[in-house]
Amino acid sequence: MDAEFFRAWITEIAAVVQVQRDHLTQLDSAIGDADHGINLARGFGAVQAALDTADTPTPGSVLLLTGSTLISKVGGASGPLYGTAFRRAAKSLGDEREVELPAVAEALAAALAGVKKLGAASEGEKTMVDALAPAVAAFSKAVSEGADAPDAMAALTDAADAGAHDTIEMQARKGRASYLGPRSVGHEDPGAASAALMLHALRDVAARLAR
């Protein structure tokens, strides 16, 4: 997987959050402040524009520009959290021009660690961590057992979907949703939903470019 692959992933995310903009905002209006889809669409639009003009010869440089742009443009909580995730992944990938599945697994683990540290969040608190953590674990396990890309990607998104779905029954302990207390139960966490969408975009791009 080279820089072009990672640019295609980010482009796919930009398209998906645009399509899912109102859905994500709808989820956020139930338990947050009704701007998650709007902010991500605005942020990844800016990322796309930055990638179109900058020179990004390595996977790491693509993700670093993505993360930095999200931090600069989004605001709110999702800007720093997703921005940090992409920047940590970028640093993990280093200057390699071509990366394999084990390096991607390490990068995703680094992204997760960055989000957990910045947000002081752990699993079960109704946040994006609840989609990312099981997804990263399932992906790493599949890769370490020698799975090929399609199977590893399937493990990634299946676990992300299940994790996002599990947030419905959780009571929020982080962010504005936590002010609702028990009233936050019964709604899917918008951050977990958007994290799952981004991982689906990764799987879709991998499938498309493998053909």
């Binding site: 709110g76 940090t84 302990r173």
Partner: protein
Amino acid sequence: MKKLINSPDTVVTDALAGMGAAHPSLAVDVENKVILRAGGPTAGKVGLVSGGGAGHEPLHGGFVGYGMLDAACAGEVFTSPVPDQMLLATKAVNAGAGVLHIVKNYTGDVLNFQMAAELADDEGIEVASVVVNDDVAVQDSLYTAGRRGVGATVFVEKIAGALAERGASLAEVAAVAAEVNERTRSFGVALTSCTVPAAGKPTFELAEQEIELGIGIHGEPGRTRAPLQPAGAIVEIVMDAINGDLPLAGDLLVMVNGMGGTPLIELYGAFNEVSRYVSGHGARIAANLVGNYITSLDMQGFSVTICHLTNTLADLWGFPVDTPGLRWGR
């Protein structure tokens, strides 16, 4: 919903440009949405930077000036600003004595200011931060993001600003900011929802004869809903919540704050009830503010903020201040 705006996309920048035009004492960077003092930083003085989503005017930009803030960063309506803005403001106000970030306790504000502080540190600027969390309506526990920062922000900016103006060190200014926060409690009530311009419809629904107790400054839900009742009864609920968290005693600094859509005649009526409650509990209002200081767009409602003063804090409160939103003594 009628709004006196050109468009939701330009509402924040139009207002910032207007503030710059109205107040020659301010230097407004409309593009980066940063408000600074026109004269530049004061040599050797600790710089004070605050910021947050727009929609709470006069907070924060209206409190930039002598005796209060050096810079304020505005985000989109109810959305925190980004680290780039905060770094720009921090660099602009750094006069060699370090910079204090005054942050309201919302996840977005805290994360963005945290990243800005790291960036400033990379550039060799010493930054201290105080996170304001005075809203007793929110349970402060492991199960929430903690108490929200509301009215105490005005007191922190004023009192820390006075101490900085007197030439205190960053550690001293940060300590007094934290002390004011610790000694202050707030509680808010909404009579109607606010309407965010980009959304175009009310953030929440309240029935004609219903009020929301413990409302946040972005229209977030509070503790509970209750039927509308006379001002005296509503104020008693508010004061019981504050008094239950930190019992009233001694000299108090009291703010009765309008949420943006409540006329002064009602705020003064509320202050009368607050005053009666305070003297009934053996305490004394030594200083007060009545008016719109930390608003939620067009929301009808009010909040009460009470700080337990010390002689030092009372003295700093009385120190001269010259900003668009607060001015006395010079």
